[in-house]
Amino acid sequence: MEDQHIVEEEEILISTDPHHSATSVVFYTQKASATEMESTLYYYQDEKLKSKVFKERISTVVPLTNYIVVNTRSASYVIDIKKDTVKEIVDLNMKVYQGVQMKGDKFIYYNEDGNAYIMEIMESGIELSKVTGMKSGFLPRFIVDKHGNVIAGGYRVNDEATQMQTVELYYLAND
């Protein structure tokens, strides 16, 4: 496969993972050269495509109703879609994996500390709450229905002796 790759000075990557809120689709492209990295975040809403440029590698994005949370390698940001502003999030040691909108500007995510959290973005600041109930070692994929109820599905235990893996499902009703 490798010899057929298009070789360019710049490598352009696109995120093909689905990132979407109830109202918009968000994706990003990354252009890497030997000296520079440039990521362009696009959001498509009401048949309009807007973009933001970051001089870093984007690791995850979480589209919400009024905001988009963007995590780069070194920082986390909140884009206010209506005001067209970008603010850095401070006081947060966060690595967002599987960030999925629940309702409005509230989302659930899995952190590298092995816990899940629910974050809500508000004009006045950010509220963070802990999620409990997952067994140790469980790696979830969050699926959310249109009411904001969450299913966490994933693998937990690998048993070398039986060559079997355990699949678990969890449910959280949106209040």
Partner: protein, 211 residues
């Protein structure tokens, strides 16, 4: 008359200035957003999933979406070291805990993603290995309606882990692609095309953005 022409010209300049504002122009606020840890704790409840609770190492389950208390997932097995093939697509009713098979897949291909439309149609992205290991992966976007399949889009991918995945925004369904344009005579790639595509209500795929 002259005054009105000048006024129109000034208005035109103002409009032009407004229109030329870059779409990606954003203001980096100096005040950062602060995080407050609340005392509220959300507790997940474990669900029974007996039929698929234990699966072999060589198998996989992928969860794809939930509608009206039915969780959609795919079950498959490893063909070789690089690609898994999907055996079947299922729906799991989280109220009754009953699993229903939605599609049995006999041929060896991977369903990278699938989504159920509001009218009951199924959209899925299919990824297949070529004849040799050095061939790119072939993908298709397929609509299945009342058992009849229609290919809405197809092309080539270099990385089967970048298969087309669906996103929903309101009633609209989108998918992202990073496909390669092949030179048929040499069977080599001559371009890479990134695109965001929308499945329209009449069931066709249209590009809304491409690189």
């Amino acid at each position: 008359m002259v005054k009105s022409k000048i006024a129109l010209f000034v208005l035109f300049l103002v409009m032009l200035t407004g229109c030329s504002k870059a779409e990606d122009e954003s203001i980096m606020e100096t005040d950062p957003m602060k995080v407050i840890m609340t005392e509220k704790v959300y507790e997940l409840q474990e669900l029974e999933f007996h039929d698929f609770n234990q699966i072999p190492y060589s198998s996989f389950i992928m969860f794809h979406g939930i509608t009206d208390n039915v969780l959609y997932f795919a079950y498959g097995e490893s063909d070789n070291a690089t690609i898994y093939s999907t055996n079947a697509l299922y729906g799991y009713d989280i109220e009754t805990k009953k699993v229903t098979m939605l599609k049995d897949i006999q041929n060896k291909f991977r369903v990278w993603d699938f989504v159920l439309c509001d009218n009951g149609d199924m959209l899925y992205s299919k990824v297949e290995l070529g004849d040799s290991e050095s061939d790119p992966f072939h993908f298709e976007i397929i609509k299945e309606s009342n058992g009849k399949e229609t290919v809405l889009d197809e092309g080539s991918l270099f990385n089967h882990l970048n298969g087309p995945a669906f996103s929903r925004a309101g009633e609209n369904i989108f998918y992202l692609l990073q496909e390669v344009e092949m030179d048929a005579s040499t069977n080599t790639a001559n371009a890479q095309i990134d695109s965001l595509n929308e499945i329209t209500k009449d069931g066709t795929a249209v590009s809304v953005w491409s690189s």
